[in-house]
């Protein structure tokens, strides 16, 4: 084989390599298929969703995971829901909220749904303003609270057309949050309250040094539990009344009304 032939082969290889590199650059920089970026892709509404979720978690946590607590104890201006309650003395409480995490997820979804849709719509409006033809399908929102994060899953079929068409369906946004730990510790406290009427919070604090866990016993037998993440200041507070003792012998009044 002559040297010229070899040079020719090298040139072809270089050209092929350049074409491949150019194709890859075009593919990733311009086309950006939605299946490669399974998150929000060009839809810049992540930070909006993040703000909504963070704000709603803070608000919900102050009222024990309820948008409007129905059965609650008034404590320092907060409506703190009873997770476990009995109106009688010397008796264990009856659990009022057995699935604490699921309830929080449901209420968080309810509280943030419209706002998240609004975040998405704002993003869609931006595309419309830039001359895109936008076709949308029915939206579905789901969220899950996992360790250290809240995962928001938005199913919103949308097609953007200008010269070419792009179709997006699923958007997944992960937001850092300590709420999972707070909910799981609350569940554990609730298990103790329902069985023994009390829970040793100081031991739990040593296992979770990033959390503050305080309990405040009230005069009529209610205990307020306050869990707070030191860093993010995310709170979860709830009430329980279990194995309450009356003042004196408690012979006259048997308890408080339910």
């Amino acid at each position: 084989m002559s040297i010229n032939n070899k040079r020719g082969q090298v040139t072809i290889f270089i050209i092929v390599a350049l074409v491949i590199v150019a194709a890859i650059l075009v593919f990733f920089l311009w086309i950006k298929p939605s299946y490669i970026t399974p998150t929000t892709g060009q839809f810049a509404f992540e930070s909006c969703v993040e703000d909504v979720i963070e704000e709603e978690i803070l608000t919900l946590g102050e009222t024990g995971g309820y948008i409007k607590p129905e059965f609650y104890y008034n404590y320092q201006g907060y409506k703190i829901p009873y997770y476990c309650y009995t109106n009688e003395y010397y008796k264990p409480c009856v659990v009022q909220q057995p699935l604490v995490k699921q309830n929080f997820e449901e209420q968080l979804l309810l509280a943030s749904k419209e706002k998240i849709y609004s975040c998405f719509e704002s993003s869609v409006d931006e595309f419309k303003a830039r001359g895109y033809d936008v076709r949308e399908g029915e939206k579905k929102l789901n969220l899950e609270i996992n360790p250290e994060e809240v995962v928001v899953k938005l199913n919103a079929p949308v097609t953007l057309s200008q010269e070419t068409s792009q179709r997006f369906t699923d958007f997944e946004i992960k937001i850092n949050s300590p709420i999972y730990d707070l909910l799981m510790i609350s569940t554990s406290i609730l298990q103790f309250e329902a069985k023994y009427g009390d829970s040793d919070t100081s031991t739990t604090m040593f296992f979770y040094p990033n959390l503050i866990i305080d309990k405040y016993k009230q005069g009529e037998g209610t205990t307020i539990y306050l869990l707070e993440d030191k860093q993010t200041r995310t709170k979860l507070q709830f009430a329980s009344r279990s194995y309450a003792w009356p003042p004196g012998y408690g012979l006259v009044e048997s308890g408080i009304e339910g």
Binding site: F71, Y72, T86, V94, Q96, Y216, Q218, W245, P247, E257
Partner: protein, 638 residues
């Protein structure tokens, strides 16, 4: 005619039965609570209460909730999270999407606990919970059913070897510092030839004991970019955010040529004196924390990064140093020995990472704070706990031995008081004053004096009397019945039903005396009546006290009042803000009101280190004649 009589009889019977049934029903409805509300007006579920409190749109049954189908409690099982919740009504469990079972948690196989190991952590949880946790943390399930003890479970979870997990991502060669299991490497390459990692493919590769920043691995993670806390110690982090070795300002020593190095080989366990060594030690009282530099970093923070070993010791309100995890009691003033002020409560304080958390024990002194300390190599380690105050049976105990048996109650033994009667009076409807006391206030029972006169109690609290006899009495209302018999007064001797001493609560309970309750009843259990006898010469000279003369002394009133205030918020005593309430007693000698000196009580938050028990010498006055009234009411004036 016969038919008419029969009809009349039948009608009469129906009417009688109807009236009887109505009466029975009416009697039944008076006993409360009478129904099980599925939901109350306030929004609570499954509550035994009065029918008027039930939400009309939900069910109610005239029976206890335990016997209803909709409110029977059992275990609610969350099959997704693998969590069991006992004492849950079926209705609520079903509504929440759980699976309800009438069996207790212990009897349900899906709630049985076992040891779940997640990397180097462990928890005693049901199997399904372990599966869920393993899936959340992305590791294979490791569940040991045979381990039932939490301590054994924690001990099982040992630190697993960690290393650099190298892989390709976004056209760059990157790395995560994790365990072999977490890495899930397809191919294991642990040899480095001529300073270059061999056999790298697109798959993950695990390098045991290597840091991600090791030069040989050729990753995009640069060494020692920042610091952070992990398990209470300070660690270096590489530019990819992976944990490296323990932080030290001697960067080369800490980096150890990109190999994992034991913390103690980098720097000695830090007692908080060295800000440039991240080897914090829980037992030495240090823990990783962010350094708050303040203005111009005055105070000297760590040379690199923002984290250091912070001393976790706390300072209690008396300036004593408390170790991390140590707890102690805090009080509103004097405590124990019947000295707790009205409205006070006990508190437990805990030192957590340099911060003191104060947790109140149950109100009305239904709980007391108990304290003890453990001797350790580093000195005493205090442990406090709130526990139930067992005062209820104290007054029923009549011997010193049974009174001071700590296993059976929190009581203390006081010396006898002349004329003291326990449980001889009865309750009243007038708030703050027992019936007997009330009666005593409304009647006059001081007879005319003679040469030798005896005078009884039960007279007006503030009687207008003349004569030579004087009565001393502390009266009130009692829970166990028995009114002082006023007909016996005049000629009887001074009597006491506690001749050897009185057993009273060590920590007097508090009452909600502003509400209708049994506070009056408890205060009224103690009453004292002392008949002091005088002799008067036939012709000249003043009368002379011959029996029970001590009852006229202030000391007698003080002793009697001590019994009253030991029962609870009774008698004359000081409240938690230091105000003295005199309305809790009436001490009448002849027709004059006397005052008990204000008890000396320390007020203000203080630390409770138990004092040595000291036996105080008290006189035990005995004798008879004359009457002094001291009516025991609620302390009031909260």
């Amino acid at each position: 005619m016969k038919k008419l009589t029969l009809t009349k009889l039948l009608l009469t019977s129906i009417i009688v039965i109807t009236i009887f049934a109505s009466l029975v029903y009416a009697a039944g409805t008076r006993s409360q609570p009478s129904v099980c509300c599925e939901k109350t007006n306030a929004g609570a579920y499954c509550i035994n209460t009065e029918p008027a409190n039930c939400d009309a749109q939900h069910q109610q049954s005239p029976t206890s909730c335990e016997t209803t189908s909709y409110c029977k409690t059992g275990t609610c099982y969350d099959s997704k999270e693998g969590i069991c919740m006992s004492n849950t009504p079926k209705l609520l469990c079903d509504q929440a999407g759980g699976t309800w079972d009438a069996k207790s948690e212990e009897d349900l196989p899906q709630c049985n606990l076992g040891c779940c190991i997640i990397v180097d952590q462990a928890a005693l949880v049901p199997l399904v919970r372990c599966k869920r946790l393993s899936s959340l943390y992305g590791v294979e399930i490791d569940y040991r059913n045979e381990i039932k003890s939490e301590m054994e479970c924690i001990a099982t979870a040992t630190a697993k070897e960690k290393g650099a997990c190298v892989f390709e991502e976004d056209f760059s060669r990157t790395c995560r510092f994790e365990t072999r299991e977490e890495c899930d490497a397809q191919e294991e390459v642990e040899t480095i030839v001529n300073g270059t990692a061999q056999g790298i493919t697109n798959e993950k590769t695990f390098y045991e004991d290597y840091l991600c920043s090791a030069e040989e691995l050729g990753t995009d993670c640069a060494r020692q970019a920042s610091t952070d806390c992990y398990e209470g110690k300070v660690y270096w982090l590489d530019s990819c955010g992976n944990r490296e070795n323990i932080y030290s300002s001697d960067k080369d020593l800490s980096w150890n040529n990109g190999r994992v190095l034991d913390a103690d080989e980098i720097c000695a366990p830090n007692d908080g004196t060295n800000k440039n060594c991240g080897n914090c030690d829980y037992l030495l009282g240090t823990r990783c924390a962010e350094f708050e530099s303040g203005l111009l970093n005055i105070g000297g923070g760590p040379e690199n990064g923002d984290y250091y070993c912070k001393k976790t010791v706390c300072e209690d309100s008396e300036g004593n140093e408390r170790k991390n995890g140590e707890s102690w009691c805090v009080y509103d003033g004097d405590h124990g020995k019947g000295k707790d002020p009205v409205g006070s409560r006990h508190y437990k304080a805990v030192c957590v990472d340099g911060e003191v958390h104060v947790e109140p024990c149950a109100d009305f002194r239904n709980e007391q704070c108990i304290y003890d300390s453990i001797e350790t190599e580093d000195g005493e380690f205090g442990v406090a706990q709130c526990r139930v105050n067992m005062w209820q049976t104290c007054l029923q105990k009549v011997t010193k031995e049974s009174c001071e048996n700590e296993a059976k109650g929190d009581c203390k033994w006081l010396p006898p008081v002349t004329g003291l009667l326990i449980g001889e009076a009865q309750g009243t409807a007038k708030p703050g004053v027992g019936p007997q006391a009330q009666e005593a206030m409304n009647q006059q029972a001081f007879p005319e004096a003679g040469d030798t006169t005896t005078q009884g109690t039960e007279g007006e609290a503030f009687p207008e009397t003349t004569g030579t006899g004087t009565g001393a009495a502390i009266t009130g209302q009692a829970l166990f019945g028995g009114d002082d018999d006023k007909d016996k007064e005049t000629d009887e001797d001074t009597e006491t039903n506690r001749p050897s001493g009185v057993c009273v609560p060590d920590i007097p309970p508090g009452f909600d005396f502003w509400k209708k309750g049994d506070a009056q009843g408890i205060c009224g259990q103690a009453s004292a009546k002392c008949i002091v006898k005088f002799e008067k010469p036939l012709v000249f000279g003043d009368r002379e006290c011959v029996e029970n003369c001590e009852c006229l002394e202030t000391e007698w009133g003080t002793q009697a009042n001590t019994i009253c205030s030991s029962l609870g918020d009774c008698g004359g005593y000081v409240n938690y803000i230091g105000e003295y309430g005199k309305k809790g007693y009436s001490w009448i000698v002849e027709d004059e009101l006397k005052e008990v000196p204000k008890p000396k009580v320390a007020i203000g938050r203080n630390i409770g280190i138990p004092e040595e028990e000291t036996e105080t010498e008290t006189t035990s006055p005995t004798g008879n004649s004359i009457i002094v009234d001291l009516i025991n009411n609620l302390k009031g004036d909260k």
